[in-house]
Amino acid sequence: MTAATLDQGTQAGLSTRRLSRWTLLGVLVADVLVSLGLFAVTPLQGRADFGVFVLLVYLALQTMLSISVEGRRKAVDRFVLAVVVGSFVVALLPLASILVYTSVHGAKRFDTTFFTHSMRNVGPNDPGGGAYHAIIGTLEQLALTTVIAVPLGLLVAIYLTEYARGRFGRFVSFFVDVMTGIPSIVAGLFIYALWIQTLKLGYSGFAGSLALVVIMLPTVIRSSEEMLKLVPPSLREAGLALGMTKSKVVLRIVMPTALPGIVTGVMLAMSRVAGETAPLLLTLFGIDQIVNDPFHGPQEALPLFIFNEISRPSPEAYDRAWTAALTLIIIVMVFNLLARLFVRFASRNRGSARA
């Protein structure tokens, strides 16, 4: 019987020495002081580095203290807690800094001129100018992309959930996975090689949309498929038992049930596609002036506009780029938020209908 060794824990009683909140706060203060000291005497500099150091020094101090007071297990537990919370904060820092930085710099040119004028006859160093032509282009290309990708994607999703059988079904599903992984620049290259080089149909907003379709399609298929799979088989059987044809069951029963989820997926896909730059680079060509016709000749888009303005090293161009970035973020976030709100709204409605 080895009870002697085993019972130590049991006999030691339940209460343990623990670090209080105040002690930990003290550790934090000491940590900041130590880090400040390090920054004063070594060539460390910059706010980002300071954050990193504060975290590292805190971890070291807390762990040493915890081992001596609470023991190794508790110290490891505390260490992990600090790392986990720390990594969450670290993950949010880029988001916060992007939003703040873009808002601050983007506000400078967030004016009427920007939203009503193009860059026609505006030189790189000139003030003024706007992104009206780019916004028009982005919205038109986004609409065209959606009009093509959504019906096609939905049909494929319906095929995969309702009609696919055996090897061909798995084959299609496999290639949808493959398509999900296609880098966006490759999608652009494809349309460039097909549309512009081979068919000689020229740069246009529509060519850009086609490249975006390649990106959007697998996203729409996968998200719609997930939603269609959630529709209980009993609903389908109920429809078939009523004597409905399969297509009617799909269109009248399955689709309406899955619709809220599908709409959400589509909006998320749109928000992703709206920010794509690489495919447009090779298919739009880009232009300074307003082009309302997306089918003929080069067109501009917001991401492209930003890319071009960044490559002009003048403060005026940078200001325009920031404002365009802010506009793009707003467009993307609006779609994203709408999608999330739609989920809430739809699930609440459905919940009450069920209850």
Partner: protein, 324 residues
């Protein structure tokens, strides 16, 4: 319906009517849509190969082993080596930085955050995925580069003996390190989201088994959650790696590109396949364009392999309800 089983004359016609023209038409339509997907993929492969081959024929150097990119010279000399190297290095760097943070975020949201806050906080991290890549590039160039310069200089000064964490020019800045960091931020949300979903799927009975034995929270995670989530995390990581490999515009902006084999991560320079396409296509001649398409084909194949690996890992042992 079955009660009228005795073969009534009208019955077979009734059944046939059910397979009416619209019903068949719809069936044909969805199958056609499935073929369109296959056609697009076939088209990508065919057209990329078709346009790449003539340029590859003009290449007087070995495409796979040459570390130079002069397709429009006479004679043309270009190889994928230096670009593929940069692509892999930046993506690996992104993975090394993103994985620990993403796991921390996923654990925080699944197990540590107060329940009422978990969902909104998870959504905040998901928002990172909604930031356009051009904005990441711009932010990386104008914000992250100056703000991380101190750290980079410091690391270069005290760790240059490792060779990898050094700089050959004496300056730091638009380096692989910077590109890798920006890419890490970009792939973080996807890796974190998938890992989070898997952590949330760990059965409660498993977690309670550990806790009831007197495990601390971390010991519970180590014994119950991590073994269960291992393959899901691995597949999320590979998926993130695939994303990083194909990312174009952010890398094109933050990297000050050249065609040298940069082995010191803090040195400005280097290049990736995708960034090279974005930055040079407009100046490329006949052969140059074909060469870029050839490089795109290589990128396509690399990401394809990576994504298939992710798929295989996820299939292999991810528990029911895979989120990948």
């Amino acid at each position: 319906m079955t009660s009228t089983a005795p073969a009534a004359p009208g019955r077979s016609r009734l059944l046939q009517e059910r397979r009416t023209v619209p019903d068949r038409g719809f069936r044909v339509l969805v199958i056609a849509a499935a073929y369109v997907v296959l056609a697009i993929l076939a088209g990508i492969a065919i057209f990329l190969v078709l346009k790449a081959v003539p340029a590859l024929h003009k290449d007087t150097a070995n495409f796979f082993t040459t570390f130079a990119w002069n397709p429009d010279n006479t004679p043309a000399q270009f190889g994928i080596g230096v670009l593929a190297y940069g692509t892999l290095v930046t993506a690996l760097l992104a993975l090394v930085i993103a994985i620990p943070v993403a796991l921390g975020v996923a654990l925080f949201i699944a197990y540590y955050a107060p329940r009422a806050l978990a969902q909104p906080l998870g959504y905040l991290v998901d928002l990172l995925a909604a930031v356009p890549s051009i904005v990441y590039g711009f932010w990386g160039l104008l914000f992250l580069r100056p703000y991380s310069a101190g750290l980079q200089t410091w690391v270069a000064r005290y760790f240059s003996w490792t060779h990898v964490l050094g700089t050959s020019t004496g300056t730091v800045g638009q380096s692989f390190f910077l590109a890798g960091t920006v890419l890490a931020v970009m792939i973080l949300p996807i890796v974190a989201a998938i890992s989070r979903e898997i952590f949330l799927q760990v059965p409660q009975t498993q977690r309670e088994a550990a806790l009831a034995l007197g495990a601390t929270k971390w010991e519970m995670i180590k014994w119950s959650a991590l073994p269960y989530a291992r393959s899901g995390i691995a597949s999320a990581a590979v998926l993130g790696f695939g994303r990083a490999l194909g990312e174009t515009i952010a890398v094109a902006i933050v990297l000050s590109t050249n065609y040298e084999l940069v082995s010191k991560l803090l040195s400005p320079g280097g290049n990736t396949i995708a960034a090279n396409i974005a930055l040079t296509y407009s100046d490329a001649g006949q052969v140059g364009t074909g060469a870029l398409i050839a490089s795109g084909l290589v990128l396509f194949v690399i990401t394809l392999v990576v994504n298939l690996v992710a798929r295989a890992i996820a299939r292999q042992s991810t528990p029911a309800g895979s989120v990948v």
